[in-house]
Subunit: 140 residues, 6 copies
Amino acid sequence: MISRLLARLDDLRPPLPASAHCDLPCGVYDPAQARVEAESVKGCQEKYQGSDDAVFKERAVQIKEERADLVKHHLWVLWTDYFKPPHFEKYPELHQLFNEATKAAGASGTKGSMEASKAQGLLDQIDKIAGIFWETKKTA
Amino acid sequence: MISRLLARLDDLRPPLPASAHCDLPCGVYDPAQARVEAESVKGCQEKYQGSDDAVFKERAVQIKEERADLVKHHLWVLWTDYFKPPHFEKYPELHQLFNEATKAAGASGTKGSMEASKAQGLLDQIDKIAGIFWETKKTA
Amino acid sequence: MISRLLARLDDLRPPLPASAHCDLPCGVYDPAQARVEAESVKGCQEKYQGSDDAVFKERAVQIKEERADLVKHHLWVLWTDYFKPPHFEKYPELHQLFNEATKAAGASGTKGSMEASKAQGLLDQIDKIAGIFWETKKTA
Amino acid sequence: MISRLLARLDDLRPPLPASAHCDLPCGVYDPAQARVEAESVKGCQEKYQGSDDAVFKERAVQIKEERADLVKHHLWVLWTDYFKPPHFEKYPELHQLFNEATKAAGASGTKGSMEASKAQGLLDQIDKIAGIFWETKKTA
Amino acid sequence: MISRLLARLDDLRPPLPASAHCDLPCGVYDPAQARVEAESVKGCQEKYQGSDDAVFKERAVQIKEERADLVKHHLWVLWTDYFKPPHFEKYPELHQLFNEATKAAGASGTKGSMEASKAQGLLDQIDKIAGIFWETKKTA
Amino acid sequence: MISRLLARLDDLRPPLPASAHCDLPCGVYDPAQARVEAESVKGCQEKYQGSDDAVFKERAVQIKEERADLVKHHLWVLWTDYFKPPHFEKYPELHQLFNEATKAAGASGTKGSMEASKAQGLLDQIDKIAGIFWETKKTA
């Protein structure tokens, strides 16, 4: 539902939503980077479930691990580098949201499981963060 | 102009355009990953031009180099892993487009210059590739 | 002064309690990993200040950037992977401490400055986190 | 036993003398970096032995491999960058100690085995190197 | 056959064939870098086939994946950074050769299989590219 | 001179000298990997000397640093993973050769200088190691 809503908000965004981060800072941030990798985590889990080739399944475990690491990295960057004290005042749940989302990408979440429902939960958490992110951009 | 057009096509895309790649393959690809880093390259060039702090400018050169490497990587992945022989038959210009875009990200393009026009040229090339990419997705 | 003291205590240490992290999880964590890199950041800043060799100074800027990235990474790992909900309840300041420490390692802190006082501030923040970390270990 | 003892001494430590290395050089070195990763290798082996979850065990193999690589890297840095000709004269066994310790981290040691005794052997070798390291620091 | 021929041409090459690449550019390129990693991929496949140690086999799958990534990277660098428009005019098959060789290193080739014949096919493709590479060097 | 000699010995080698390493081990090693990167280091130094473009020169410093790191890495791998106790008995100078060559790639050598003579000295040291390496292969 909220994801549907976000999707719609997406359509209203100006042409170049996807954007990178570097700690120059270049000033470019986008939750899409974390979402992309979380989609890939989900794809690895689904393909793992749908295969009975032992080597392929092993590769899925391995590659999912790397992608989950990237999810964590992109979220950490947003939490430390994009969000500023006024944001944390306005959205007091932000710290916990990020802490839980990065945990959901890690050992207790998508790293420790081959169930695609885990990645879906992570995607939902990223969407919540993205919702706040785009709100702050509008008022910036 | 064409970039404006692409932007408009962007609005028609389904909800989760941003998507990652891994060579499992997880089946998730998106030109947004290359574009994000190219935006960052442009940001580094613009901030370099606007600053007279020698250390900051040096950091801009250094960080831009890494971001330009990521642009090349994301484009190479699309060229090798997403596009298949039928695509190359239908779009015979694809090989050259990718070769020129990755060159434009490298030493003869954004790596070798601090002018933001170079990154803009690269962004335009990525948009052309993205246009073809999304066309192939619709007919897939 | 305190650094002198630490150095002295150092001599009394047996060979090397320190411990690593991985997200298996292997269960091994230690704030020393972040501190080590922050010490290196400080060393780069001090050597930069003490040199008038342009190439050496450029290398100091470049290497400091990488080391500051490692500080951020090691702190993020502690925040997401070691600390659990009960910790955040007991130490409600933890989220902010980590957010500020990782910011202090980044563009607004040690990345954006060649003054060793910036790295010293970062080291002090890491020490606060380490103090809490070791308290939680004792009661664990 | 000795590990118990170290753990106890650990509690007495002030927050974190440990220190990093970079090849500026920043002048900061510490065998703790290698030891930390070797502890993690051991943790991966122990958790592998204690689990009967096939995916978890596969992840343990994978993560241990990366951690063992880090052990080798940190030891190589000490051998090349910290130790100087006078050290090798005073401690003629140093070359062999490092060669054997890095081999013990590799395919013939902790990489090629899931037995924690292998990691313990590696930890003992790192402790010998650390003993010499701290001796040279006192006389420096 | 052609590989035998290339080997012979190899003997005619000047003393320092092996050469690196960086995108300064330093001007140093060599297909040997890709070939080295492809040899390693083949070695991993052969050792996998010859072993019945489950952990060893898992490590072979994991390490082969990384080596195959390096093959792709080194080939992409040659395609984008070494070869220039006049080369593509003279050797119109070059784009396809590189596209197929990098695909052969990926999921549909050496990544997705533990058969050494896949790596041999990749090596043959690298040799074709190397043959053209050395021809262009002679006329340069 | 000795380099000329090595070059000649090179001609006698079987067709596929270039070879990679991984710590499976795949059994493939080749000093060419270190040499390639050392050539690149030299190229960076020469292009630095020949340029008066400040940004280009900064990039040369930065890229040379990374390439020198790769030289060190490839040499360390040979020292730990390829050479075995019988080799060190037969060539007692090997430990020192490797220690000096990796130091020559580092801060006191090619990292700390923009003079191509430093890289040439490093290349000569790599050639000495390569000479011993190929001798051991013949008798293996």
